[in-house]
């Protein structure tokens, strides 16, 4: 461990968990930027997937050696259930509330109400199955709810249900990758040993920000043009 980190934890009493989050978070943000600029996975911007990655991390509340994906995702099953429930309800409520012709914010508020009760149900289920740690972080699933539900409904209005679903799926995948970074003990060890190496993401992002080539997804999107063009 770097002496800087050591003195922060031991000398100043800052929780190591907090330090780990702050140091790994730039990596998550860079990963999301890479997904967008080079691969072409849009997701709901950068804020939504990173906050969801954080919430996923808090829900599973564990550290894993390396990238033990199976264990990571298994421990996240309630988080995944909540995510899917939010999207499903967001979609269903749009169909139902469309006929009633309500103003926008009240309509979102009704969607939120239903979501709250659904999460309550999932929490109860988790508690019944002795998943106690889950209930203690109850406030975070609510944050996810607000964030995704609002985003999802907005995109649904803007670009249609199909696009919104695709973006929700992309957000989910990106958030899972971010969650894998956040909950890996190995990554934490590396950033604790070399905290300033995290700053390397800045030149990486400068490169990403100047990247004007086609995204991987665009090679697929324009495949007909690419093969038929003279």
């Amino acid at each position: 461990m770097s002496p800087w980190i050591n003195s922060m934890i031991v000398g100043l009493g800052i929780p190591d968990q907090t330090i780990a989050l702050l140091l790994i978070f730039p990596l998550v943000a860079t990963l999301i930027a890479f997904f967008r600029q080079v691969i072409g996975v849009k997701a709901f911007g950068i804020y939504t997937p990173s906050i969801i990655a954080l919430v996923f991390f808090m829900i599973s509340d564990a550290r894993y050696e390396g990238f033990d994906l199976w264990a990571m995702f298994y421990d996240l099953r309630y988080g995944i259930a909540i995510y899917i429930a939010v999207i499903a309800i967001g979609m269903g409520m749009r169909v139902v509330l469309k006929k009633v012709r309500l103003l926008y914010l009240p309509r979102v508020a009704i969607t939120m109400t239903l979501l709250s009760f659904t999460v309550l149900g999932i929490l109860a289920l988790g508690a019944a199955l002795q998943r106690t740690g889950f209930a203690t972080v109850y406030v975070f699933p609510l944050i996810v709810l607000v964030v995704i539900a609002e985003k999802f409904v907005a995109v649904q209005i803007e670009k249609g249900t199909k696009t919104a679903l695709l973006l929700a799926l992309e957000t989910f995948v990106v958030a899972l990758c971010g969650y894998a970074l956040l909950s890996s003990q190995t990554v934490q060890n590396v950033v604790f040993a070399h905290p300033f190496s995290v700053l390397l993401v800045i030149p990486v992002n400068v490169l990403l920000g100047k990247w004007t080539g086609l995204r991987v997804a665009e090679y697929i999107r324009f495949r007909d043009v690419l093969t038929r063009m003279k």
Partner: protein, 469 residues
């Protein structure tokens, strides 16, 4: 795979669009005009570009309370001023008979003043604007569908998207509303995009949605290629004028055609979509780079540049779909005669003639000198050259001399405006526009004529003739 990578630089991707075109060329002031439909109307109207007439606008809930619904005309369109992607738009066709302040919508339903009021209230609250900011609702004149487009469109009005850069219209696409897109001419919602040849304004290839290649308008047997867009030059001129007026260096111009008014400018787009490249099967980046840095002084010159540089795909498309080559009325033709002797001449393509004729001198060069000499010795003046005798003359000559004259394949009796002649026929090959064609050609004195050969329709089966070429 390597081919695809080599072509990639021709395509404009999202990264390059934003970083190299939208960001440096569409500055804040210009984008502010594009994102504000009412302001767009004012700016374009002042520049002499026709726009849909503004009927009324409602900016606050108080104005909405005080609004007199009876002032609305029988048909109109209600739009959010800062809407995007066609969201929040209500199209009204007519007043509902027997009801006060009720109208029939494009979808066939009835909408009352109360419904409109709720919708406008939503618009004012920002339900349809980018990032939900407060917005203004406005009513504008409803455009009517051009007859030409009727069989291709579902409910809504098609429009024409033109990308303008540096005063040059570089790429265009006809957008058709479909059942899937809910009557909106929006590709993302499942509308149809049809590429347009810049020079002629004729449609080429088509896609539906984000990139499914189609040939016919959905649910019909109406071919999407070959539609001639009316007012094409006016449309190009309007879009270049709109670029000048708005200051958007990289503009996606949307123009619709009204049955009575002709072309009307619909919308300025500061971030035009990239699917237009698939509709046209062409790369936008390559085109933009060809126009970059040129000094284009006037709109007319920019249009001419766009037509010259980016027109002409039609021909290739026709060639691809028909499998035939498009040739002009005069073409360079290489004849291949005896012992692979080759002579290249300019030949007239004559669809009025049945067979192909070549000049005597050309025939000699091709190695048919002996044929000509032997044929000239025949006592041809003993025949009476009238059409009824044609078959008998041929049979007679071939029977009497067929084997004695080298390389004689047939005998032709040709009746033309300059009189009737009996001509020897030989078998050759000719190569025109890279196509090799076997041909029986007759030999005649063409020394006083402009071209040494004419190609008749009998040998033109693999070609289409474009007389303007």
């Amino acid at each position: 795979m390597m081919e695809i990578l080599a072509q990639a630089h021709k395509i404009l991707g999202m990264n390059a669009r934003n970083l190299e075109y939208v960001r440096p060329l569409n500055l804040k002031n210009a984008r502010a005009i594009a994102d504000d439909k009412i302001l767009s109307k004012e700016v374009l109207g002042a520049a002499g570009v026709p726009v849909p007439r503004l009927i009324a606008q409602i900016a606050t809930h108080e104005e909405l309370e005080a609004f007199d619904w009876s002032t609305l005309p029988d048909s109109f369109v209600l739009k959010p001023n800062r809407g995007f992607g066609g969201g929040g738009i209500i199209v009204v066709f007519a007043r509902k008979k027997g009801m006060d302040n009720a109208w029939v919508t494009a979808g066939g339903g009835v909408i009352t003043a109360q419904d409109l009021s709720n919708h406008i209230s939503n618009i004012i609250d920002g339900a349809f604007s980018l990032s939900g900011v407060q917005d203004v609702a406005f009513f504008e004149e409803r455009l009517t569908l051009l007859k030409l487009f009727k069989p291709y469109s579902y409910r809504g009005i098609p429009d024409i998207r033109i990308i303008v850069y540096n005063r040059v219209p570089v790429m265009a696409m006809l957008r058709l509303p479909t059942r899937e897109s809910g009557g909106k001419a929006n590709l993302q919602l499942g509308g149809v995009g049809v590429g347009i040849d810049m020079a002629t304004g004729t449609t080429t290839t088509a896609i539906q949605g984000k990139g499914k290649v189609i040939t016919y308008a959905p649910g019909t047997r109406m071919l999407l290629s070959g539609i001639k867009i009316p007012y094409w030059d006016d449309i190009l001129m309007m879009s270049v004028r709109a670029q000048e007026a708005s200051g958007l260096g990289f503009l996606g111009a949307d123009v619709a055609i009204d049955r009575e008014r002709g072309p009307v400018f619909l919308e300025l787009n500061a971030r035009p979509g990239l699917s237009i490249q698939i509709a046209n099967m062409a790369g936008l980046k390559e085109r933009l780079e060809r126009v970059a840095g040129l000094t284009i002084k006037t709109a007319a010159r920019g249009i001419r540049m766009g037509k010259d540089l980016f027109g002409g795909e039609i021909e290739e498309t026709v060639e691809q779909t028909s499998g035939k080559r498009v040739i002009g009325s005069v073409e360079e033709v290489t004849f291949i005669g005896k012992d692979d002797k080759r002579v290249t001449v300019k030949a007239k393509i004559d669809t009025g003639a049945y067979s192909t004729s070549i000049d005597r001198a050309l025939a000699r060069e091709l190695g048919f000198g002996a044929t000509l000499d032997a044929f000239d010795r025949l006592p041809l003046d003993t025949y009476t050259l009238i059409p009824e005798n044609e078959a008998a003359i041929k049979k007679d000559i071939l029977a009497a001399h067929g084997t004695a004259i080298p390389n004689l394949a047939d005998v032709a009796v040709v009746f033309s405006s300059s009189g009737a002649t009996v001509r020897p026929v030989v078998k050759v090959f000719f190569v025109m526009d890279d196509v090799r064609v076997p041909a029986y050609v007759n030999i005649v004195d063409r020394s006083k004529l402009r071209y040494d050969a004419i190609i008749g329709k009998r040998n033109l089966g693999k070609f289409l003739v474009d007389v303007s070429k």
